[in-house]
């Protein structure tokens, strides 16, 4: 019987230091009777066919997720996989702001079940003890607010090391606390990654249509609601903060990077060229559409 499910999503790279940190956290948490802990493959690379995901979707109890991603990226990647909940505040997050639920729209709030999900970035603490202490703090919070035992832990493989990580993937993750469904990304993406659901809301319809390495749509998103968790730039990988990363400045422009809009255009063209399609110069219709866009009717 346990009060809190803890999922540790392993690192896609098998760096020894990361493995060691994962092992020690798993070993300590496995000793805690009120916690059901499970080692999982890398979160971002999981496909919807993963068997454990189905049982996690059904779970409505408090959940803590640890992964080598920014907390926002963890929360919204889980959300995109159908594992939804409210943002639990953590104290490890160096950025100060965690997954930022304060501007959550009523629709999204209604969508999310009442259960809490705490997202912890394994890069935020150098020692297993720091993460374990934070999990203990969360457990204490659960004890005082929701002292219900889970009927049965959904997954139990506390020690199992995932031998063959799934192949790496590349697709956008949407922060629905920020997305205002303006559809700029649908207009911009040439690969049919995005779609619209029955409620006229944005969905990532065909994630695997996305071109590996291309983060162009995240640069054109006016709300900074699109991120690519594996991108090198913190602002694109879902770092905390209002606009681009509040922790670290991206000075690439100073060293010769083109401005964001130009960059997005270049990246999209490169992805298009890689996909074997031809980039064509703007025709009269394109120019007319640009003029209409500029007129902001």
């Amino acid at each position: 019987m346990s009060l809190l499910t803890v999922l540790l999503f392993q690192s896609p790279d098998r760096a020894p230091r990361r493995l060691a940190l994962e092992e020690s956290i798993l070993a300590v948490l496995a000793q805690e009777p009120d916690i059901a802990v499970a080692a999982m493959p890398p979160l971002y690379d999981l496909t919807d066919s993963n068997a454990d995901l189905a049982s996690l979707r059904a779970l409505t109890d408090p959940l803590a997720a640890l992964a080598w991603l920014y907390p926002r990226a963890i929360h919204w990647t889980l959300h995109q996989r159908g594992i939804k909940g409210r943002v639990g505040k953590t104290q490890l997050d160096r950025g100060g702001e965690s997954a930022s639920p304060k501007d959550q729209t009523p629709k999204d709030a209604a969508d999310a079940p009442a259960r809490m999900i705490w997202s912890l970035d394994l890069r935020d603490g150098d020692t297993a003890a720091m993460h374990v202490a934070e999990i203990q703090r969360i457990l204490q919070e659960v004890r005082t607010t929701e002292p219900r035992s889970l009927a049965s832990p959904p997954i139990q493989n506390p020690k199992s090391r995932i031998q063959n990580p799934p192949p790496s993937r590349w697709y956008p993750v949407i922060d629905f606390a920020r997305c205002n469904h303006c559809m700029e990304c649908i207009d911009f993406c040439l690969f049919g990654v995005y779609g619209v659901d029955d409620d006229a809301h944005l969905v990532v319809e065909s994630p695997d249509n996305c071109k590996p390495g291309c983060p162009a749509c995240s640069r054109v998103c006016p709300e900074n609601a699109i991120f690519f968790p594996m991108h090198r730039a913190p602002s694109i990988a879902g770092a905390p903060g209002a606009g681009p990363d509040a922790r670290k400045l991206d000075l690439s422009e100073l060293f010769g990077a083109p401005a964001a809009v130009q960059l997005a255009d270049d990246e999209r063209n490169a992805a298009l060229a890689g996909a074997g399609k031809e980039t064509k110069p703007k025709d009269d219709l394109d120019k007319l559409m640009d003029a209409l866009d500029d007129a902001k009717l």
């Binding site: 090198r232 991206d250 000075l251 060293f255 990077a257």
Partner: protein
């Protein structure tokens, strides 16, 4: 410019618009970060190259990245040409760039033509005019 603390720009070399210095090194040119770039980055603790020595690059190709105590930045080829050698010492310990950016903290050597490299005086004028833009970049992001 940049507050009241003078940054040093040695006059025995030229400077590129993307804030690198270059000096002759045998038949190649040696490049490093200018004091201006280093001052904006502060303590650099991570450096990586995404191309190998011997790679042919075009100006503005992304060739690597730095991370410092307060910023991340991609690095771009300052000229068309071939990168002949990276500074292994700076790669192993990027703090060399802060300690001696114009000397032991050089970045790489390449052959080619740095056509838009500027004389020091010209680079200083360039810094004056581009400082407004740099401030906007800094403040826009630091909000």
């Amino acid at each position: 410019m940049m507050g009241n603390f003078a940054a040093r720009f040695p006059t025995d070399r030229r400077y590129t618009p993307n804030h690198m210095w270059l000096g002759a090194q045998g038949t190649a040119m040696r490049f490093g970060l200018s004091a201006y770039a280093i001052r904006l980055l502060r303590e650099i603790y991570f450096l990586e190259w995404s191309v190998d020595a011997g790679a042919t690059v075009r100006q503005k190709d992304e060739i690597g990245a730095v991370e410092s105590s307060k910023a991340v930045a991609a690095l771009y080829a300052p000229a068309d040409g071939t990168i002949t050698r990276f500074n292994a010492d700076a790669l192993a310990d990027p703090s060399a760039i802060n300690k001696d950016g114009y000397g032991a903290g050089w970045l790489f050597e390449m052959t080619g033509n740095a056509n838009d490299a500027m004389e020091p005086a010209e680079y200083l004028r360039y810094l004056e005019t581009s400082w407004t833009k740099a401030q906007a970049l800094l403040k826009g992001q630091a909000a």
